[in-house]
Structure formats: structure tokens, C-alpha cells
């Protein structure tokens, strides 16, 4: 049973969030050289256990990650193919808690390890109160999740304790907007987390050095942001191919199908464009800002096209995203933004048109 639960909740969670973790890893350990990485994180840990304001910020980050875990597990429990999980009702409460404790700790592990190091550093420097508080927060977050999962499993006959968030129905839904509706209906947590994270990063850039921002700096930051966004093209392709397979029977050209993706990317990257215009128009100019925006769209379009190539599983896709990050960074320095934009856009069109009709979803990964 533990093995099955681990496959359903833990393995799937890490598979689906590989791009997100890659992004976080690069953000935490890839931005500065190895020697400075240790100093940087040591400084962060000292702040978290020294000043209550930073403890609260760190606790909020932990809470955000916990919410992500919570949505993921509850969504998985709700899937029709996982309805057999309600057989867990046959176990006593302690056993159910034990099993979900194992699952929650496993998916919370990256944050937990970092937090425990923070607590250790705090203790070493005699910052006992805030370290204990931060440790207590970790325990509280894990136990809360375990209780919610157990309640969910044991409450098939009760009304949910969590309010269901539904967005108002829109009368006419155009095919062009399907992916957007899918994002805000079926992938609310992922979608809004990525957007908030992306805007926070941009805000950080503006906060640190708004006067010395160059298009190259923004592009490299954008590459990080696109790595975080890479989860969306993955979900979108799965959505079209598993929930809308009948679209392939409709008389719609392959190019229009490509446009459906590109249109959605142009829509979901609008907040970043507006943010940059608001903060960096005087420094970078409208032409550069538009090129950065189109570069983001081209990169997401390329992520989409690549998924239609034969044998691209989620693991390979994550590797491709990582590879593209470094290749794009090199090409950015070598050939410049506009050229890279056109290369990625043309490549995405070519791959999509060539691979779309040969594609068949691997049901194991859907």
C-alpha cells in the first residue's frame, strides 16, 4: 500500500513539477559562483533565525509550498482513476495518518531539508526562540496537511471543509481561449503560483537595480521565468491530447492549432509585459520590451513543439527545458535577442507542423 501511495502522490508530484524544481534549483544555486552560494545561503539562514520579519517571510514561503502540495494531493485524490483510495477508510485513523505523513514528508522534503538546516544554524548561533518557532511552523504545516488528507479520505459523505473556488461562467467560450480557461479552472494553483512568482522575481530585479537594468539581464531573468512557466506547455499539450482528443477529428488546420498555443502564451505573458512597461520603459525602450515579450512567447512555443516529438516523456522534457536554458543563454550572448527570437519561433513552427500529425499520446504519461 505504501508503495502504491508513493507512486500515486510522491512520484507523480515530482514528475509533474520537475520544471518547477529545476527553476528553483537554478535560482538558489545557479546564479552565483559556488563559493558565494554557501555564503549567500548562510546569510539568508542567519537572517531567518535572527529577525522575526524574515522568519515570517520564510514561513510564508513554506506555507505557499505547502498549499501547492495540498492542492496537488487533493486533486490526485479527486481523480476518477484514484477513487479506489477511499478503501483507506477501512484502516484505523492512526494508520491513515501514518501513511499520509509519509507522503506529505516526501513531497515536502526539499523545503523541510532547507528548513532543518536553517533551524540548525539558528541553534548553533543561540537564536533559540525563532529557531524553535520556525521548526514549530514546519511541524504544524505537515500535520495540517496530514489531517486534511485524512479528513478528505474519510469524508465521502460529508461536505468539504475547503470552499470550492469556482470562477464565474462565461457565456461564450472560444476555442482560442480554451487553454486560458483550462489554466484558471483546472490548474488554478499552478497557474497563479507561477504568475505570482514570476512577478515577484521581476519586482526583485526592479528593487535591486532598476537603473542599471540591461536587456541581457532581463532576458536571463526571463529564461528563469520561462523555466518556471515550462510546466504550463506540458499541461496544455496533455489537456489538448487527453481531454480534447476529438479536436483531431475537426477540420482545423495544423497551423491554427499551433496558433491556439501561441495566442494563449501571448495572453498569459501580458502581466510581465505590463510590469516591464510600467517599470523599465525609460531604461530599455518599447522595442526592447516587446522583443523580450515575444522572446518569452517563442520559448514557450518551442517547449510546446518539442513535446510533439516522438519519445518526449516528462523526464526528457525536463532535460530539454534545462538544456534550452543554457543554449538560449549562450545564443543570447552570441547572436542577440531578435535573432534568437526568430530562430526559436521558426524552430517551434517547423517542429510543430512536422510532428503534430505523427504524435500519439503515451497513455502511461497522460
Amino acid at each position: 500500500m505504501n508503495n502504491a501511495l508513493s507512486k500515486i502522490f510522491v512520484v507523480k508530484f515530482y514528475q509533474l513539477n520537475a520544471g518547477f524544481f529545476l527553476f528553483i534549483f537554478l535560482l538558489f544555486f545557479g546564479l552565483v559562483n559556488i563559493k558565494d552560494v554557501i555564503n549567500l545561503h548562510y546569510a539568508i539562514m542567519m537572517q531567518v533565525t535572527n529577525k522575526s520579519f524574515f522568519t515570517l517571510i520564510a514561513s510564508s514561503v513554506c506555507l505557499l509550498y505547502t498549499i501547492k502540495c495540498l492542492f496537488s494531493v487533493l486533486k490526485t485524490i479527486n481523480l476518477p482513476e484514484n477513487s479506489f483510495l477511499y478503501n483507506l477508510q477501512g484502516l484505523n485513523k492512526f494508520n491513515i495518518y501514518k501513511k499520509f505523513f509519509f507522503c506529505q514528508v516526501s513531497i515536502y522534503l526539499p523545503v523541510l531539508i532547507y528548513s532543518l538546516i536553517v533551524v540548525y544554524v539558528g541553534f548553533v548561533h543561540n537564536q533559540i526562540l525563532l529557531s524553535v518557532f520556525f521548526f514549530f511552523i514546519q511541524v504544524l504545516l505537515i500535520i495540517s496537511c496530514v489531517l486534511i488528507y485524512s479528513y478528505k479520505i474519510n469524508s465521502t459523505w460529508k461536505q468539504s471543509i475547503l470552499p470550492e473556488i469556482t470562477l464565474p461562467a462565461i457565456k461564450r467560450k472560444s476555442l482560442l481561449m480554451y487553454l486560458y480557461y483550462y489554466s484558471v479552472n483546472n490548474r488554478k494553483a499552478t497557474f497563479f503560483t507561477i504568475k505570482v512568482f514570476s512577478l515577484l522575481l521581476l519586482q526583485l530585479m526592479v528593487f535591486v537595480n532598476s537603473e542599471q537594468v540591461s536587456s541581457e539581464n532581463v532576458c536571463i531573468l526571463l529564461l528563469f521565468i520561462m523555466s518556471a512557466h515550462s510546466l504550463l506547455p506540458y499541461y496544455y499539450v496533455r489537456f489538448f491530447e487527453t481531454e480534447l482528443p476529438f479536436l483531431r477529428n475537426l477540420p482545423i488546420s495544423v497551423f491554427y492549432r499551433y496558433i491556439l498555443y501561441v495566442f494563449t502564451y501571448s495572453l498569459i505573458l501580458l502581466p510581465e509585459l505590463v510590469f516591464l512597461f510600467w517599470n523599465e520603459l525609460n531604461v530599455l525602450g518599447s522595442s526592447t520590451l516587446f522583443s523580450i515579450y515575444f522572446f518569452g512567447i517563442a520559448q514557450l512555443a518551442l517547449f510546446t513543439g518539442l513535446q510533439y516529438l516522438k519519445g518526449v516523456t516528462i523526464e526528457r522534457y525536463s532535460t530539454i527545458v534545462l538544456g534550452l536554458f543554457f543554449v538560449s543563454m549562450l545564443l543570447l550572448a552570441a547572436i542577440g535577442l531578435w535573432y534568437l527570437l526568430f530562430v526559436e519561433l521558426l524552430l517551434s513552427i517547423f517542429i510543430f507542423l512536422a510532428a503534430y500529425n505523427k504524435y500519439e499520446i503515451n497513455t502511461e504519461q497522460s
Binding site: 479552472n185 476529438f246 477540420p251
Partner: protein
């Protein structure tokens, strides 16, 4: 009417279907075969939902060379249809109407006949499996199809809708539409309409 040329379909290098040369004229065909024989795979291939080797030609239109005209004349209703829960039936009907070039009159008739007008404006997430099935059949009959594929059309349908479906198949057939139906339940037509049987066995399609 429909012609297969060197058709083959593999899953993970395992041969599922092989139809070197095969032709069917306008008629109603009942596709039979054991579970796993490849009935749904064949239907999905003809519908253009999954890739395959070789060629399928309907009314002289090649699925690979004239992708859009082909999809205007070939309709497909899945055995267990699944649609995004945030859409309404109306959203899908409008999408099909635009792409399959269906008239308002035809849509109203189909919606009326299958009795889905009461819930078609609500989100699909609130539908029962029978309601989703009715919606998929409405979509399957929309437009100006020359060839309609119905995969297990009777499952989860109520008695009234079964009668409606039989009448629709007869009417469309008399106007020149070919049907390929896979069903483990019997469909009883008028005495003068006798479906021809096709059997899928050992990767091959056989007239029986």
C-alpha cells in the same frame, strides 16, 4: 466509398491492425471483434485521431493529403466521451457548428431529438455519463458527414434515446451516409435495412 491502402497500426512496435487493401461501399457496417481486437483503434484511425501507416481515402479524399476536407466528411462519436468539465454543451456544439459547417436548423433538431436542451447550457462537469453520451452523439451527427463512426453508441443511453439513434441512423443512411458501428448490444433497424457485418480478427478485417 472508403478505401484502405497498406494500412497498418502499431502500438509500441506491436502490430494491432494490418489492412493491405480493403474497400467498403455506402452502407451500414457493424464492426465486431473481441475485446482488444482493435475496433476503437480502427475507428480512431479512420477519424484521424491517431496516426497510422498507409492511407485511408473516403469519397476520393485522402486523410493525409486533404486533411481539412477529409475531416468535414468523417464524423466520430467516441465510446466513452470525455470533455473538459468547465465547458458547456453549447460551447462544444458551437465549436462543431463552426468547424463542421452545421446549420442552426440541424443543431436545433438534434438537440430536440436527444432531449438535451434542458442541460446543454450548463457545465459538462454537472452531467451524468448518459448526458455526456447524448451530447457526443449530437456532435457526431453534426455537419455534412458522408461517413459516421459510432463506437459503442448504446452504452449508458436510455430507451428513448436508443430509438432516436436508430431513427437517425436510418434517416442519414437513406440520404447516402455510411456508418461504421461497433456495439456489443443489438441495434434493430427496419426490415429493409440490414447492417453488413465486419469482423476484426488476428489484426485483419474480414467481411462476414
Amino acid at each position: 466509398m472508403i478505401k484502405f491502402e497498406n494500412f497498418s497500426k502499431y502500438f509500441n512496435k506491436r502490430l494491432i491492425l494490418a489492412i493491405p487493401e480493403f474497400e467498403l461501399s455506402t452502407d451500414i457496417y457493424w464492426l465486431k471483434g473481441e475485446n482488444g481486437a482493435g475496433k476503437t483503434t480502427l475507428m480512431k484511425s479512420i477519424a484521424g485521431v491517431i496516426p497510422f501507416n498507409g492511407s485511408i481515402i473516403v469519397d476520393g479524399i485522402d486523410i493525409k493529403k486533404q486533411r481539412i476536407p477529409y475531416r468535414l466528411i468523417v464524423n466520430y462519436a467516441e465510446a466513452e466521451p470525455q470533455y473538459p468539465l468547465f465547458l458547456t454543451g453549447t460551447d462544444l456544439i458551437k465549436l462543431y457548428a463552426e468547424t463542421k459547417k452545421s446549420s442552426i436548423e440541424q443543431i436545433n433538431n438534434l438537440v430536440e431529438m436527444f432531449g438535451i436542451s434542458g442541460f446543454v447550457d450548463t457545465k459538462i462537469g454537472t452531467y451524468s455519463s448518459g448526458m455526456v453520451k447524448k451530447l457526443s452523439l449530437v456532435l457526431g451527427f453534426m455537419g455534412n458527414a458522408k461517413f459516421i463512426l459510432l463506437d459503442e453508441p448504446l452504452i449508458t443511453l436510455d430507451k428513448h434515446s436508443v430509438g432516436v439513434l436508430q431513427n437517425l441512423i436510418e434517416t442519414y443512411f437513406l440520404s447516402g451516409v455510411t456508418f461504421l458501428i461497433s456495439s456489443h448490444q443489438d441495434i434493430i433497424f427496419n426490415d429493409n435495412i440490414v447492417p453488413k457485418q465486419l469482423l476484426l480478427k488476428e489484426n485483419l478485417i474480414i467481411r462476414s
